[in-house]
Symmetry: D2
Subunit: 326 residues, 4 copies
């Protein structure tokens, strides 16, 4: 195996997301094929600071693709958050001969990478977060799996809710973003969807609507509530008190982070891992890998940080049309 | 279709459980085949009191088998709980010509049935509860599905827990019984299992054990906590405070009640529905259908209520052997 | 409910695909909301010829979203294939007052629709096929579910293959297109992928590669074979004879068509159903609904038929890089 | 870790079955806890002959429980089948100090074990086969998972079959036993079930029944055909030719062997692994571990071989009652 092209380090950082293993595997195998040595760094940026890294072979990444989580582990690093930590990390990378660092993570991890790049380490970012809250890309690793996991849980809730003619409040993840909630809203045919980007805290209108739908013959109702709106237990109580409909809250929690990745997460995580290596191979520096307009692309890290995105108005309107009996 | 043998009513009562639809379907189809008219009664005992019932055909129960919940709906009935309610229900049954009532539900529903039988309605019980907490039977409809649902959720938690090297507290259903927790404990290889029948509230010993296991090299740990022990959020905080290990709690909640039934729940719910009709056909009265010593059987309702059951000591010991590094 | 805007008919045609029910539901609910009467036509074009159609209400499409298949049924129609059949269908539509027909199906169904439009019925197409083989769109209803179904089956095969250190040939659907095979190839980390668009019938090279990979330490291998290449049983025999590696073939077959749709199929099938109604509402005629460049769009039916598409070269290259040891 | 009690070897043999890993893990962890050294032997009896074995630690069996297949691999051994092979295997066991060998496998593997025991190796068998065709036990590792896998595949087939108003022939595994077919028959509500133990090759009666059911309004039908009956493609053709109903055959094949084990398979495989060690610890020799009358038990290997079992008549009757209209 030729090693003349140099050394690439790869790490996962921040919250884990199903598909990260597929991305690491693709980085390793494409890297080896293109002529690089690839080092797996454990526990995020901490792994650089503590020199926890190993050269990975083609076989080391066998049987990883189908598993959720990240076999490199992930962690938050207090030391790396400081400027001194970043300087030290850059020095260790240079000392080890790691010219390029591939960081698989979310916005927070990319901020760290961007700042690290100022100390002379070439960084390449791959978006890995179930929350889909990264502006420059329409796809992030783990979102598809998380949505399917939440959707299947809500399918189950609907069956029991239906049998008891109840209302169910179900809280899905997403931090301050409502993408998982919007998708579950449509995929589960939720009667109500509360998104942090959209919900105006008008609980009276919400309770009125739930009451009206029941009058119009809906015998059970699902309220998908985003983590960013929160307070699901209180909301359930409010609904029961105001409408007399038996109401239960379920907070899906961390199970949304795990599980064997979907085909889509395995496919695009693999493609992004390979593409990241090819961006390096083509000599581009400090780029983030994304998926936009139906294509893989890479963008300068500073440009990417200047972008914004928001909930699609048409999708949100249709979610409400489909769930609300007029 | 001959109707000379009389009329059977069937209802579901109490909490729903996956497989109830399979049982109803089997009652209807076996009932018709054996020469009975079968009436589906909606919303549990309420449906008798409000005369919400319909003659069901072979085709009416098509495409029900594979769905969780109960298409007859279920409810708790305040009126039926009173002696007057039971008297009225018995009168309506007689008036409608319903000689035998098949009740699919748990302990509470069977108590209602037992008392109803005193007013001259023949009652047959089929055990339907995810909690497995009915003494006279080793099998209850829904337990197998609920355990598999919880197990899959905990598999997901383990992956993300592992990536973050966390401790996870996960609360599973079961009311005051620990069967779901014990099964998940073994099926998920949980490091700790807290059952209401066994846990002595010695939190110090628990925290000590978690700490010791981490020292011995366990990088993540799952604590399966039964609903009957509860207080999962407090427990997670206790663990994090005492051991310094990042700990998260997840309360799985009502999603454990829903979902397409497993093969086992479809199979035995079907067999019990058929068996219940055959018990009627053989002229036995006021019997509960059970599964014990590897066989379907029926038992007098008063005898059944006199039985007790408890967590198997060997299973509990092995659960601990497998999860705890000595 | 206002009906002043006219009548829309909706049908499913050709092979069924998971998500079709979500699309029908969205057509009905968005149609009603926008002021249309929506008629569900049963058994594809046959249903027009035999006047099998009913006005659908908001409630009629409840509890359909989560189920595979199509509750309107689907069929091929010999009569409609003839010019006389199309003329008759157009006359019946006019007689019934159905100005616009929404056809959910694949290429064949769209050809029928295109020709029907020449007799004065406005037609709108929604792409529904698990094969993804429709040129003008990057998304077709059912592909995502079919790929996930196939992928999960192949995950299972890999486990047993691995235990026995076997080679497994697995044939996936797709008719003459290799998209399902390519996706499974990447998602399952297949060692070999045979696509009708790419495979040059050089079996010697294939056998050589399988042999070489085994020599290099691969203890089991998955060959994903597309339906369009076929002959999986013969291929398994060839491999076993040439390499001495125990080899088994599995043809996944029609189970790839069924199952509860994934979140993605529910989401985009719903959005396309709604969008189709809005295209009608905006007065556009004879359009096909697609998803391209990351967006929903509509295109003239003749234009759409002029487009072509092919397997992405980079995706195919990476599939091979990831599966083949240097 | 005390090692004074001696050495146990554990191997998996014959066809793999989901849950075998759980059994191995339980043997290792219970063995260590009870004071034994446990050696994992690779590739069945071959691993003894080639001395492929390693001492296993508590940690070596981490993260195995939830995976199908067997991490010890499995194989058939031509050499061991000969008397000389068994003699040699016994000698190697003695030389290595392995007094007891735990064999996880089916009938064929137990025959091997029985004969090996004659050369002075204490053998303990744990029933591992998806076919359930072992007379002395009501439970075998893998059956529950295989039935659920087949059932889910057939659920999918039913949806697409229903949409097309087809007949589907689906062939499930089981070798010469019909247990998987019987269970799927009931769990999937199959209209017809062909078991090797019961089917009298009266195809005319079968075709007549399918035709009659269609006349009575069944718009689609599932025929579950056991591997031991076979010829599914021909059967599909026969049905289509005789009845005019479009009919498709699917042979589920090896995917039924793989997949993450169900809760039941993880639970009882774990309990049997632990129980096997405790049988050794209590000094019993040449025993097979089983589950009968609702309990774990152990039985002398010769006694076990003298037992027989057959399809339950009542279960078979009810399967037919539930699937056949009046």
């Amino acid at each position: 195996m030729s090693t003349k092209k140099g050394k690439i380090g790869v790490l996962t950082s921040g919250g884990d997301a199903p598909g990260m293993n597929a991305a690491i595997r693709a980085v390793v195998r494409t890297g080896i094929t293109r002529g690089y040595d690839v080092y797996g760094i454990r526990r995020g940026y901490n792994g650089i600071l503590h020199r926890e890294m190993d050269l990975l072979t083609f076989k080391d990444v066998s049987e990883k693709l189908q598993h959720g989580g990240t076999f490199l582990f992930t962690a938050r690093s207090a030391e790396f958050r400081e400027i001194e930590g970043k300087k030290k990390a850059a020095e260790i990378c240079k000392e080890m001969g790691i010219e390029t660092l591939i960081v698989i993570g979310g916005d927070g991890s990319f901020t760290g990478a961007k700042n690290l790049s100022k100390f002379g380490v070439n960084i390449i970012g791959i978006p890995g977060t179930i929350d889909l809250d990264i502006a420059y890309t329409d796809y992030t690793i783990g979102f598809d799996t998380a949505v399917n996991t939440a959707m299947e849980a809500i399918d189950r809730l609907r069956e029991t809710s239906n049998s008891h003619e109840r209302c169910s409040v179900v809280e899905v993840m997403g931090r301050s973003a409502g993408y998982i909630a919007l998708w579950c809203g449509i995929a589960n045919g939720a009667e109500e969807i509360l998104l942090p980007e959209k919900f105006d805290n008008n609980y009276d209108a919400l309770l009125e609507q739930i009451h009206k739908n029941r009058e119009l013959g809906m015998t059970h109702q699902i309220v998908v509530n985003a983590e960013g709106v929160g307070h699901s237990d209180e909301l359930a109580k409010k609904i029961e008190d105001a409408t007399g409909i038996e109401t239960r809250a379920t907070i899906l929690g961390h199970l949304q982070r795990g599980g064997s990745p979907t085909a889509r997460d395995r496919f695009y995580a693999s493609m992004m891992g390979a593409y990241a290596v090819d961006v390096i191979d083509q000599g581009r520096k400090n780029r983030l890998i994304g998926y936009k307009n139906g294509k893989l692309y890479d963008v300068d890290v500073d440009e990417a940080f200047a972008m914004t995105k928001s909930i699609d108005e048409y999708e949100y309107e249709i979610a409400r049309v489909l769930g609300t009996r007029e």
